[in-house]
């Protein structure tokens, strides 16, 4: 590539830039800058406007996403390094809306806890900026930078409760493991670059799928890249950071990590697999198969033993990552179905998991704890929250007609459609694991509905308006996705292969 550019030394030509395609990123960036400037100019007075400005910024970012979607054309810049297609737009919308809900569930938590508010939202926005960039990235360097942009603010958000040792532990552990994973990932990318001489994923695929491409180093490169992302999506055995981080981090941040950050990891992984590695399914498919099967089983089995609801959700998140990985293990056989299945799952998982965390935050406003035993008798003093939590837990367990069921159906549909032994085995894994998972979800349900409240304390939980609206949004989406799955079905009829090449 450098050789190709050598001819143009001296007369630099600016590459054409499609401003419409870059508009979502630029809008979000503008609001991030505005947020920071507001802090500088207004100091303390601007503080209470920070969440509002962050929400407006996120919603404003939806505008160019929608106009791009209406326009419908696939756009590609820099030789295909930055692509805006239907898939990218859906994932951008997921990140933005997940971020919006995180802002909603954060606002009271952060302002009441006397944290650094403005900086909190600033970092949140920059992390989301990294995520929406990731959705369009089809180039090794862009993917890596986007990954760092979304991770580094997240490391610091995890340790935002500075005076709490657990939060410090959370941030430090997340940081160390994250950096370790980044190093492995980058090493893998450098090996792939060394073998192919290109950073563009399309060219990379062409180069490493060719019969004369160096084999050993490509295999090592692919393995390292997948391991790097496995940390990010918290797949077993690279999940060890997740429970401690989730437990120690401020709960809204945990919600953000478990949904948006994980989704971003998946987006990156899907970009790599479907565009960069699709010709080398002999390497990645067995690996993804093992990661998926082990993640769901181990995640669920450990989740059974948890007594803290956040840790339980963390391990259930590990298991859910396993479900989402499953279709990727048959990516070469049924690429469209596999991609659609994982994207559907990501969309629905984002909604139901954010909802569950919103309830955890609401309940913790009264109980000041996240122990599962403190959910006993919740129905007697917070019936609304109990209903919402039950909906989310059953959705996570995949009970029809809630959203999670449709997500799980898509996953199983994709792996079975592949018509291979490994696909059917994964389908059975998913089925058996849904039952194991049901046990711990239903156990919380039983505690909330059937038990008596501890100490007979029946003071109701006061749920602030922003948290309430987050709950309403997530409950509605969880139900709608389940009853009218055609909605997600149509939206996620995407293909990564179609959009590239420009």
């Amino acid at each position: 590539m450098l050789a190709a550019l050598a001819a143009e030394v001296g007369d630099f030509v600016r590459p054409p830039i499609d401003w419409h395609a870059a508009a979502p990123e630029l809008t979000l960036l503008a609001f991030g800058v505005l947020l920071t400037l507001m802090d500088i100019v207004w100091l303390e007075r601007g503080r209470k406007w920070a969440p509002a400005l962050a929400s407006i910024g996120l919603l404003a970012t939806m505008v160019p996403i929608i106009t791009l979607a209406v326009d419908g054309a696939d756009r590609s810049m820099f030789g295909g390094a930055f692509v805006v297609d239907k898939y990218a737009l859906i994932m951008k919308a997921v990140f933005i809306l997940a971020g919006y809900i995180v802002v909603l569930i954060s606002s009271n938590y952060i302002s009441e806890g006397d944290y650094w508010e403005n900086e909190y939202y600033g970092l949140l926005l920059s992390s989301i900026l990294g995520m929406i960039l990731m959705a369009s990235a089809r180039d090794l360097i862009t993917i890596f930078i986007a990954l760092e942009l979304l991770s580094i603010p997240a490391y610091m958000l995890a340790t935002w409760r500075k005076r709490d040792l657990k939060s410090n532990e959370a941030g430090l552990k997340y940081y160390l493991m994250g950096v370790f994973a980044s190093a492995i990932l980058l090493y893998g990318m450098s090996l792939l670059y060394g073998a192919s001489g290109t950073t563009l994923l399309v060219d990379l695929n062409e180069s490493i799928s060719a019969s004369d491409s160096p084999s050993a180093i490509v295999v090592m490169g692919i393995i390292f890249v997948i391991v790097g992302f496995a940390f990010k999506v918290s797949a077993v055995p690279f999940h060890t950071w997740a429970p401690d981080t989730y437990e120690g981090a401020p709960t809204p941040v945990t919600a953000f990590l478990s949904v948006a950050s994980k989704a971003a990891g998946f987006v990156a992984l899907m970009n790599m697999l479907f565009v960069g590695f699709i010709g080398r399914d002999d390497v990645y498919e067995p690996m993804i198969f093992a990661l998926a099967a082990v993640s769901m089983t181990v995640g669920n089995l450990i989740a059974l033993r948890q007594t803290n609801i956040v840790r339980m959700l963390a391990y259930s998140g590990v298991a859910q990552a396993g479900y989402m990985l499953a279709p990727l293990a048959v990516a070469s056989d049924v690429p469209d179905s596999a991609l659609a299945a994982t994207v559907s799952y990501l969309v629905i998982y984002a909604v139901m998991n954010l909802g569950a965390f919103a309830v955890v935050i609401a309940v913790a406003r009264k109980t000041r704890s996240a122990e599962i035993d403190d959910y006993r008798g919740l129905f007697h003093y917070a019936p609304g929250l109990t209903v919402a939590m039950t909906i989310f837990l059953f959705a996570l367990a995949g009970i029809p007609p809630l959203g999670g069921w449709w997500a799980k159906f898509r996953i199983m549909g994709a792996v079975i459609e592949a018509n291979t032994v490994s696909g059917v085995v994964l389908g059975v894994f998913v089925a058996v694991n849904s039952v194991i998972a049901l046990y711990y979800y239903a156990r919380i349900g039983a505690k909330m509905w059937a038990d008596e409240a501890p100490d007979g304390d029946l003071t109701p939980v006061r749920v602030p308006a922003s948290l309430k609206s987050a709950l309403v949004l997530t409950v509605a989406a969880t139900i709608v996705f389940g009853v009218l799955p055609g909605l997600v079905g149509d939206v996620t009829k995407v293909s990564l292969l179609a959009g590239v090449g420009g």
Partner: protein
């Protein structure tokens, strides 16, 4: 890497001087790298690391990649190692030899290190064998800058946002309040 060296030196009509220097510097790097992990003195370890990293920079120059070489010196030696030394200074780590540095996990680490080295060496040798990489002209900084501001403009701009965010976040986390 040894394979490359062997392959290159077998072909004496090409880059003789480069290959000799490569060997010398590589040997020095390996020795220094061993010292980094065997010395019990944290400060010494950091200084040995300087030697390893500057070795890398020199190798880049031998390959004609001047910009990367300079960056290597600026970033790693100028920033990272200095940061290490500041870290050692600001925390209460002992300046002299510290036996606790050599922990009982050392044997485990050795096994992992040797394994990783073997795997990587084998796969590199297997992949490139005696491929001859021809470097006909040094890569100019202009080229690098041109490609950063055209092909890689998006990640470049993203890095600036990243640095700002990291700066703000680090201040919040580090400051006493």
């Amino acid at each position: 890497m040894i394979g490359l060296l062997a392959a290159a030196s077998a072909d004496m009509d090409l880059y003789v001087a480069q290959n000799i220097f490569f060997g010398i510097i590589a040997a020095q790097m390996i020795y220094a790298a061993f010292r980094v992990v065997t010395t019990a003195n944290v400060v010494h370890a950091a200084l040995w690391l300087v030697l390893v990293l500057s070795g890398v920079a020199v190798q880049f120059i031998l390959l004609g990649a001047e910009f990367v070489a300079i960056t290597q010196v600026l970033v790693y030696i100028g920033a990272v190692v200095v940061l290490f030394l500041f870290g050692v200074m600001l925390t209460r780590a002992s300046m002299g030899a510290d036996e606790s540095v050599a922990s009982e996990k050392r044997s485990m680490a050795t096994v992992v290190g040797v394994l990783l080295f073997t795997v990587m060496a084998v796969s590199l040798i297997d992949s490139f064998e005696d491929t001859r990489l021809v470097i006909d002209e040094p890569q100019s900084t202009t080229l690098v800058s041109d490609s950063i501001f055209s092909q890689y403009i998006v990640p470049f701009e993203a890095v600036s946002v990243l640095l700002l965010a990291a700066l703000i976040g680090a201040i919040v986390v580090a400051r006493r309040d």
